[in-house]
Symmetry: D2
Subunit: 319 residues, 4 copies
């Protein structure tokens, strides 16, 4: 093994830079050369490669976003795009590629693998919705960012005796919403994985007020319903007047937590190990805190369920 | 002087609790009794008074929101409401009232003063739009909260080469927006105090891209325009595709900064001093870092202009 | 099951309040009464009990420290002390006790269990040195607190081209030190579990400077060596002039992270479940993210080893 | 005016990078060229200059430390050192120099001015002990960093009913200590500017305990006494058993607050304006929030007193 390339793809996530640093330094530690590819698959097709030395990734471990930048690419889904990518890799004599991103990006990695490119995926997304790994890079940071925001909302909610609805990210997965709800002591959570009953929620709010709670907080995953829609339904059904906050893009940014920094460091180094061992078409992950590898397809074929214990906790601890 | 009452009114602001603590402890230090009034003028009319001892305000100095809670009251604007408030104060033998809030709340305080109630206002609002004082309690915290949020957006903006619009609070005043813009190194700011020209902004963005800037950030005060409206106008005029984030209520919450905690402590103690000296109908404030008093009417009659030096800095430093 | 008591013991840890809230609310949800015991085993012997209702634990979920306060008790280790404790519990008709603390506190809990008191332990300590559970309450927060501090030191270290030594907590376990080292990208780590060779460290520093690193950071666990001793040895052996920072008590405080808040919530509720099921003499814990129970003795008889993968990562990623 | 050089000198302070960015961009905005000088006066003598373009200072506004690095230099105090510096500046055809640092660094700048080099000082130090300006770059950030640390100590102090002593920076000035004390609600503060009486402190602690305070916090400036010495004296005189924390270097680092970022941006741009106007031998500063210039000598000849109002507040608000 001589030359490894690394790119970030899809939505950015905190810790991606720590993963880039880990790939770069562990590969160089093992006597390989490393190239960074800019703007994900777009840069791969266009040949936007740059040699990375240990000092080039100095000081980036704590930075949010990705120094390699990222993009979503339609062109890469075409046969022509794929051929351009393979040609770029050959032109730079790349012996192995590390793709940092979510399951969408892993589908692209899988196509490259099928065309003979040695490729390993590193799961980086704040949604944590990648099967084959207990945790993804960026999720713990996003959870803490959302928690900090909700704590601030709680100050205002309790000062004004108000009902607040906060919308967090998560298109098809309610991990972020459910965990934010438990961590913030929210009174209710709405997730895509669970049927929503507005009447039941209104009953809960009614009991809550009767029990002496002067303010309430509801967390909703964007994939289940928009906060504005929920506000309207609460108004129509129960006459409740709620305030709405959509956390939005702030959930993607920020300096990674220690958990995400360590996870990214481990995953980046482990991905290089896998390439060095001649493996391809796999993603790295953690299962019970241990590093593991799984076929790339696991990421989109598998399904990580929400923990029912947490769903129950929201009810039980918000009395 | 024997008995002092304190209430918070209008929107909550970080540091209000530090002010409540300062009023309570400095008054007791000076041998007075202190009563907290809940939910602002609503509680004043309803007689929601509670005796406060030094330990009752222990541990609240760093907490966001207000332990006395706050509200906006229509009833207090009527003659009957005012009469109820005066009666409550007499029933509790209150010799002086401290009102913590913005200029709207100070108008109510002025009515009480005219009816013979000794009253002193303490300016607490994140908007900093109260004349008669250089700073208001909560503004510095809100500025830092907004800055932290914009720094996170910058991570994503730079990773994706995107144009972001972030909407911050400020209905009639652009202090928060302008200062966030300078502090975050934003490329442009839209404030209510300054005419907006979409063509000029599109030119600026065009030059910025030509100069090698791959992402841009625009800060807009809610009172000037909504972020969504600005996004639409940029699309229509320049074809720009911007992402939008509305910071919303998170700007109101959180633990106060050292600046706000110290300001609130000084203002609370100074307000008690003024009541002890027999003064009334005034607000406390800072001018050139010194504590001063001014007539309550100053708060809504005066006008604090934006600093043109800062407006120029946004242009000059975002090249 | 009718009445449950809860206490915190030993060193305080962030998340203890979230655990107190979870014990209180989940027990009341299950129709039990709850009593808080102040100052750990001291208050247990002295009968410092107070009834807790759901509102009494409102707003504490995010607060550092413990509202029940904590203490270390010599008297409790005597037969007389134990007898007093049992008598207190009987006087208040307590049917089950939850002890939140580390393995030292669990030894006391074990004595109570042997005397017939139904007792369940909840592991709360920033050191993470409790066998029988993958994680302890407070560890993730302490790790992030230490990381934030080390990031600030890095700013000064890199600005002045200096060598910094930072001492973190951990008397017999290097979890905190090792994980801080990986998360902060430290050049070297000194832990109690691993033999220290000053000559080897000087060689590493020498190579590091040769490779162009102008500053370096060493993390040392207090149980391995004091930072000042390490500084002296580096001076004597290699002529290095290091700056020293001892993080100290700040590592214990602060608002818990989302991880610790959720962990504390789960553990508190699960401990109540165990008491409700008639179990005793056990501690709750997590294994592979799932809630489990283990005999209390596991906490001090077992041994959690450091992950060798992380030790290797410190070397590999600091080139 | 064609070419401006900028350097940072003395201890690093948060916001120095924002000042470097402001100098660079405002000078280029005004059609000048800019050179960064590395490692302060050391680099000035050695000719360690590097051309800075607007993109070179992109993304540094929020970073702690200084990208130009800094140093203290003995050699620069010699005639030979000064001559080398002047020669370097001539060799690079520099028409004006901006020195970012404290009053020690300004003495060096004054020497250069006397030798005919156009030079303007920008006050950057966390100690705020520079006369001629109300505020220095880095002070507000250090204050907030210290406050955050003390808040964490408070969690442990209150959980264990303990007396804590925290030592903060400040060799000859008690600004940081006094303001941290007010902001954290400390029970006592020890500053260099004020005579310390251990008997008086013991009386205060005694009264405090009698009044029901179960824990206490004392802030001490390093220049007045070490925390360990204070601990020993409290033990000897009053029998108190205190815990000690020395905040140390963490107070220097971290991302600057909005206040420091804006201050640094204004000062950097204003310093360039002064050079462009042909001024020299001056420092920039703020007086009553307005930008002003003063002779460099003001910085070390003047004296900024502590605000007696704040000293009184510590007593009055800690009852």
């Amino acid at each position: 093994m001589k030359r490894i390339a690394v790119l970030t793809s899809g939505g950015d996530a905190p810790g991606m830079n720590a993963a880039i640093r880990a790939v770069t330094r562990s590969a160089i530690y093992d006597k390989a050369e490393v190239y960074g590819v800019f703007q994900g698959y777009e840069g791969l097709m266009d040949g936007a490669f740059q040699r990375l030395e240990p000092r080039d990734v100095g000081g980036i471990i704590h930075r949010g976003g990705t120094i390699l930048r990222t993009a979503r690419s339609e062109r890469f889904r075409t046969d022509e795009g794929l051929a351009d990518a393979v040609a770029s890799l050959e032109r730079h004599s790349i012996d192995g590629l590390v793709v940092i991103g979510g399951d969408g990006s892993f589908k692209g990695a899988y196509e490259l693998h099928n065309l003979g490119v040695p490729v390993v995926g590193v799961p980086g997304t704040i949604d944590n919705d990648v099967a084959g790994t207990d945790e993804t890079i960026g999720y713990d940071t996003a959870l803490n960012t959302a928690l900090e925001a909700v704590k601030k909302l709680r100050d205002t909610a309790s000062s004004h005796d108000r009902l607040f609805i906060v919308e967090v990210m998560g298109r098809e997965a309610g991990f972020l919403a459910l965990n934010v709800a438990v961590a913030s002591g929210a009174e209710f959570v709405v997730v895509p994985e669970r049927k929503f009953d507005v009447g039941f929620l209104c009953d809960r709010l009614h009991q809550s007020r009767k029990a002496g709670k002067q303010h309430s907080l509801i967390v909703v995953a964007e994939g289940a319903m928009s906060a504005v829609e929920l506000k309207d339904r609460l108004k129509d059904t129960g006459g409740y007047d709620a305030r709405v906050t959509v956390l939005g893009y702030i959930q993607r940014g920020g300096s990674p937590t220690s958990f995400d920094t360590i996870l990214a460091s481990r995953m980046g180094a482990f991905a290089v190990d896998r390439l060095m061992e001649g493996e391809s078409g796999i993603m790295v992950g953690t299962v019970c805190h241990e590093m593991v590898a799984a076929p790339l397809s696991r990421s989109w074929e598998g399904r990580k369920p929400l923990n029912p214990e947490l769903i129950e906790l929201v009810d039980r601890l918000s009395i």
